[in-house]
Amino acid sequence: MSETLIGKRIPKMDAPDKASGKTRYIQDLEVPGALHAKILRSTQVHARIVSIDTRAAKALPGVHAVITAADVPWQRPIGVGKDHLPLKTDRVRSLRDEVAAVAADSEAIAQAALKLIRVEYAPLPVIATTQQALAPDAPLIHPEPHGADSSAHLKVAGSPVAFTGKPDNVAMTFDYAQGDIAQGEAEADVVIEDVFRLHYVTHCCMGVSGVIAEFDPNGNLLLYSNTQVPFLHKREFAELLGIDPARIRIIQPPIGGGFGSKLDIYPFEPIAIFLAKITRRPVKLVFTREEEFLASPTRQPVLLKLRSGCRKDGTLTFRAVETVHDNGAYTSWGATTPFVMMQTISSLYRVPHCKYHTMAVYTNNPYAGSFRGYGNLQATFAVEAHMDKLAEAVGMDGLAFRLKNAQDPGEITPQGMHFKSCGFKQCLTTAAGRSDFLRKQAENRARWSDPAPVKRGIGVASMLHVGGGAKIYPSDGCGTILKLDDFAHVTLMTGASEIGQGSETVLAQLVCEELGLPLSAVTVVNNDTDITPWDVGVHASRTTFIAGNSAIGAARKAKKKILDAAAAKSGKRAEELGLSGGFVTSASGERLFELGKFLRSLHFSDKADLVMTTFYYEPPSRHQDKQFKGDVSAAYAWATQVCEIEVDTQTGIVRLLKVTGAHDVGRVLNRLGIEGQIEGGIVMGQGYAITEELRVENGVVRNPNFRDYKLVTAPEIPEMDVSFIETMDGEGPQGAKGVGEAPAICIAAAVANAIHNATGVRITALPFTPENVYRALHGASEPPVWNAA
């Protein structure tokens, strides 16, 4: 037997190129003859467009096209909510709004041309908060169908109507209920209620957004794109252009960070396509960092009211939640994050009676997209604060209280989620044990009255997240093509996109494990929709699980074919044979055939078909109904994180010293890769908790740069102690479950609990910047209040 690859530290296959500067990202691609595009964005937060004069820009030497909505009367609404046009017609609704675009010989000329475009605006009242948006007399953000407004000078008769308009500023609502809240409240001995306020952050991918669009003479579109969902976007681009989706090819160059930011179609992509269509030239459009801050998606601010109760013995009886989400001006995936939040609210702990009402509300702020964790950071922040408070109210320690209410394997929750593998309790006990949680918590508390200004705190939080794909679409499938050539070289063509998370390596590893080959025997092709099989995209921590199962399926087909042929040639039974170390081996480990030579003989003598194809679809389960009852994933991931902090009560500075995490990941496939996901997630969670905030005032982003938007840097990272709970999920590839989002989810919640442990003060608003913490500790801040209409 060759040694297993599972659980080993396997270096990322594309790392040598990346570390040598050889990897060509979208910013690095030069398409011969390409023009460079720039977008003119609104200078107003909310205004009518009175007129646009592009004459001077068009006259600038080197300018090939200047377009406004009037030049593309056939443009169609885009995004999850289909509530905006790539180029705005009659009005702008946020500062980032796209008003015009230029294609020129160089970026510098395009930039110069933007300055020559004259736009006259008639300002409208700015809706800066959800509270303003919900006021009875609030101006409407989407009052009339876009593009069909009678006053719009850009109106073109017969152009598609973007959106039918809204009678109020509510973009989306979700309602979920299980049991009977009144009964749950009546059964409770302790009832508490708090309001939490979560802030704006943004992805800050190190590679800024970009796209290259090119039409061939037959009208086929080639798009170099950083999208995380190439196959679903093909259809959307086709609808937008009124062409057959089969005529669109998407190539994904290596992507400089995703984290959920590339799950929707954003205006810059259609705009580049329009310019390519109009100029009949390839068009490249790349953001500046400032644009990236202004015009890429956000994790949205949420106001959350949580009411929960439990019995004296610590049994939770009910949880009632209301949330208001600042949706921004348009509807992208951010509006649907309640779908994930409700899973945490209903099913992280056993709660018999549960109610959840939420609204995503239009404002004139930057619009919200999907971001690693997808609403779960916000929900967990509130739920885990109450787990601490309820425990304290009934005189239990936080660990015992959580263990009493934690889910067990086999449980089907009232919402319908089925926890086939579940290591939640081991996560809790492992993280608490390794961090010496209870002892430190008691010690820190005993020091509340100490005069020393620097306090220590320890806090715990846990999370539940999809770990076996997510049934967001009718299917959650992924295909694989696997070809074997002579010399035992394997090409794995997978629908799964690589965004830096290491999917190409883990997929190759799973294939090699079946075929007994070294990783160097595999080439992974994963970035071209004309070659790779269909997949629903890289999101929801699904790739290892779904694409991994698909890759294993193809490898097993190949293995069967090889072993059947070897059985025929050797006179042994196929079941006695194996593949190991590049050989076909017998049951006793004897090397019967060298695989490379054997495959060559199959090609030359046996005329064998050595191309395998498979599709993996999630196993059938109860799909969620309209009341959100049902199972959304084939498996669920669990984690507990304990955060140890130091807080300087004189300055409000919070330092994250140590994170002790225990993750139920099913099984560790690539130890190096999974550690990287978890460490990166922890530090992203640290940024969310302590340093990052996109400051939006009256619709204006005040800190669109890395000087004022503070990412965590190397000196600030905590010590990280990560344990893996291997529950060997029955459906997972080699037992594994998804992990990509999990590590970012609990950090803010655990830090909040740690601040309370250090100081006795519970802060219910993020982020824990020095100013916010100082004010809270000195009674100088207003705790969030429920002001939704």
Binding site: C205, M206, F259, M684
Partner: protein, 159 residues
């Protein structure tokens, strides 16, 4: 017409002569004029370190340096670092320690780390953390980058 400058400098050990616009950054010169795309644009404001290069042996954010100021200097980019013996060791350490995910910040970190190790062979954890604090990474949480640099620094100190 914008002013232009004639400059002569050494780039990864090769003498170059170029005429550049006065307003052009060294980053633009490297990427757009010379086709060396290993040096990345991350922010254009000297805040992220993705465009780090060596100028006369010191690390510089090339987005903040005028191309014209490269005159008479010795520039080394990731392309030069990557093919040096020390650079190859560092690259191997980055790969083996899992210091690379999306990889966009990696060339800048490679250049910064190579400089750090040159100046501080056998650098300890705190020195490494301080030494790379000007380089932002959104994927890895820095832990494995620090480990990689430490491994390479240790190797260097044993030379």
């Amino acid at each position: 017409m914008p002013a232009k400058c004639d400059i002569a400098f050494s780039l990864n050990g090769v003498k170059r002569e170029l005429t550049v616009p006065a307003g052009m950054s060294a980053l633009e010169m490297l990427r757009d004029r010379l086709g060396l795309t290993g040096t990345k644009y991350g922010c254009g404001e000297g805040e992220c370190g993705a465009c780090t290069i060596l100028v006369d042996g010191s690390t510089v954010n090339s987005c903040l340096m005028f191309a014209a100021d490269c005159d008479g200097r010795e520039l080394v980019t990731i392309e030069g670092v990557a093919v040096s013996a020390a650079g190859e060791r560092l690259r191997d350490a980055f790969v083996a320690n899992g210091a690379v995910q999306c990889g966009f910040c990696t060339p800048g970190l490679m250049v910064q780390a190579s400089h750090l190790i040159e100046r501080h062979p056998g650098a300890d954890e705190a020195t490494i953390r301080r030494g790379i604090e000007g380089n932002l990474c959104r994927c890895t949480g820095y832990r494995k980058i620090i480990d990689a640099v430490a491994a390479a620094a240790k190797e260097k100190s044993h030379e």
